[in-house]
């Protein structure tokens, strides 16, 4: 319960921070205590990490390539053109063609759009649900928390890859359904993490003060707990994006991802496997999409690491 020292005057709390001294001292105190913005301090630490900066640059490049690229480099990614089937790289097709005659460079852009859009959206949906669920569960506590967490345990004990494959079989996903398929079990891990964070935050004085002042549960969770766990949440989102892209690629590779003529980077690779197993060397079916996946995921991993450092050192420097 809230601890208010006996004799403390609640009405005095707001002004208690500024000591009553000379006007100059007060001004200096205000200037010194004026916080450099949270984002700004975070960015300073983040920018010291060269690897993270390079990753950010890489990510911007990949985004431009996938979303602006098709506006400059026009290709038909809907109609097959079998006369160009498996053509090797040339001036007209810098990365060659696949077995249906799709230009590989153009396909890399279109597939990248799917991978990135689904990756981002699935991660954000999963983190949003997981955060709210975990924060409420941890904040409410007691038997309710206990039961809510058993649901999470149950979901997490089902191997993720297997359940995602089953859901793909059931739903024949397009882009939108794919987001749901990936997120519907991913949020569980986030919920467990945020709940842990909430358990330590709910005992802090400022959260207890909300209760004393008559603030409801929702207000305490949404306005106080979640913003204070935001470091963990953002870092988790970064890793979730990389994971979602990998899962989508895996499903695409198994032929259970988005339906043709839509494609993603993993789906592009499954074509490569067929021809490798027949012993022919169509390298342009393998390297571009594979490297795109690796570069994107490495970039998100490095950025996530740097963000974690940024948020942690920000706390240390205070």
């Amino acid at each position: 319960m809230a601890v208010i020292p006996p004799g403390a005057d609640p009405g005095h709390m707001d002004t208690a921070v500024i000591p009553a001294e000379t006007p100059e001292a007060i001004e200096a105190a205000i200037a010194a205590s004026k916080p450099r913005g949270l984002l700004r301090r975070g960015w300073e630490v983040f920018a010291e990490n060269k690897l993270a900066l390079a990753s950010l640059g890489m990510l911007v490049f990949i985004l431009l390539f996938c979303f602006i690229g098709p506006l400059i480099y026009h290709t038909d990614q809907v109609h097959t053109n079998l006369s160009q089937s498996l053509c090797p790289p040339s001036a007209a097709h810098p990365l060659g063609c696949d077995n249906l005659g799709y230009d590989q460079l153009g396909r890399l852009m279109v597939g990248g759009q799917t991978s990135l859009e689904v990756g981002f959206a699935a991660a954000i949906v999963a983190v949003l649900i997981g955060t709210l669920y975990g924060a409420f569960s941890g904040f409410i506590g007691g038997p309710v928390d206990s039961f809510l967490m058993r649901i999470v345990d149950a979901g997490l004990s089902i191997p993720y890859l297997m359940v995602v494959i089953i859901l793909s079989v059931v739903f024949h996903p397009d882009k939108l359904i794919m987001i749901f398929v990936i997120a519907v079990f991913y949020w569980l891990g986030v919920a467990r993490l945020v709940r842990g964070e909430t358990l330590s935050l709910r005992t802090r004085e400022y959260v207890q003060a909300v209760r004393v002042m008559g603030g409801g549960r929702s207000r305490a969770v949404v306005r106080h707990i979640v913003p204070n766990a935001i470091g963990t949440i953002i870092v988790q989102t970064t890793f979730a994006i990389a994971d979602s892209i990998l899962i989508l690629a895996g499903l695409g590779f198994l032929g259970l991802g988005v339906q043709a003529p839509a494609t993603d980077w993993g789906d592009m690779l499954s074509g490569g496997l067929t021809f490798l197993q027949s012993g022919t060397n169509y390298w342009w079916l393998i390297y571009p999409a594979g490297l795109a996946i690796i570069l994107t995921c490495i970039a998100f991993n490095f950025i996530g690491d740097a963000l974690r450092d940024a948020f942690e050192t920000r706390l240390q420097r205070r």
Partner: protein
Amino acid sequence: MTGFLIRRILQALLILFLVTVFTLALVHLFPGGPIRSLLGPRATPEQVAYYNRLYGFDQPFYVQYLKWVGQLLHGNLGYSAKLNQTVTSLIAQDLPKTIVLVGLGLAVSLLFGIPLGLYQAVKRYTTGDYILTGISFLGYATPTFFVGLLLIEWFAIDIPLFPPFAPQGSTVAQILSDPRALVLPVAAYAFVLYALWSRYMRSSVMDNLVQDYVRTARAKGASERRVLWRHVFRNSLLSIITLLGLSLPTLVAGAIFVEVVFNYPGMGLAFYQAALNVDYQVLLGFTLLATLATILGNLLADVGYAVLDPRVRYT
């Protein structure tokens, strides 16, 4: 301790209940219901109704659930109409082969991951550490199936050292009789796991190196070698073993990609083919088995921990 055990087992039972309810509910999610997905779109409504009655899908959910759990308790995981085989016999046939692949992959990855992780922690922030960290990051970010593709491209096509296919056969003996064909699948699987173990070992050793007991050992005059091997190494290994136990079922699921890429005749490939054929009995049977193994693994790990570490019991 008894209280902890009872509480923990009750928790596991609750989780078991939730998982089984979810799995049975999943049956009804299949397009058009379980029978329609089995018979296909051209079956008449009369046929679907007949089979629904035959399999009891027309009964209330709780009746279905109780009957189904009764079947499970008799070891009946379902029947694959597509393969004309019980799911249990399919598992009995494929699980040993998957265990061979996972076992070999695990052994190879641990053989490299643990010593190299230890090396990285001792020589942290040196060039060697950075290079190995880079390799682990690569392992994290590379999809398993792409590792497989690259290995086939490099070592089966560019330099034809190994066959691009895993050994075929229905028994473990047949698989093991062709060790050359096993090299690439095991290598692909081991590379991805290596990244996991080496990262974990590195951070685990680094955590242990700053513990009080290390300082005590040094203060007592123990040599650096003795501190590392007798104290730090053992304690770090303990946490790896726990992680290993917890992630074993997930590892089996993770072999799906390797098995598909190399056409390795294990549970992963069977699961994948079931997915393509919408053979829901196999999909759910395999998933349920892996889930049960996970729940059991978690329970055993927790109990084992409580036995070893008294602090756990009271939290």
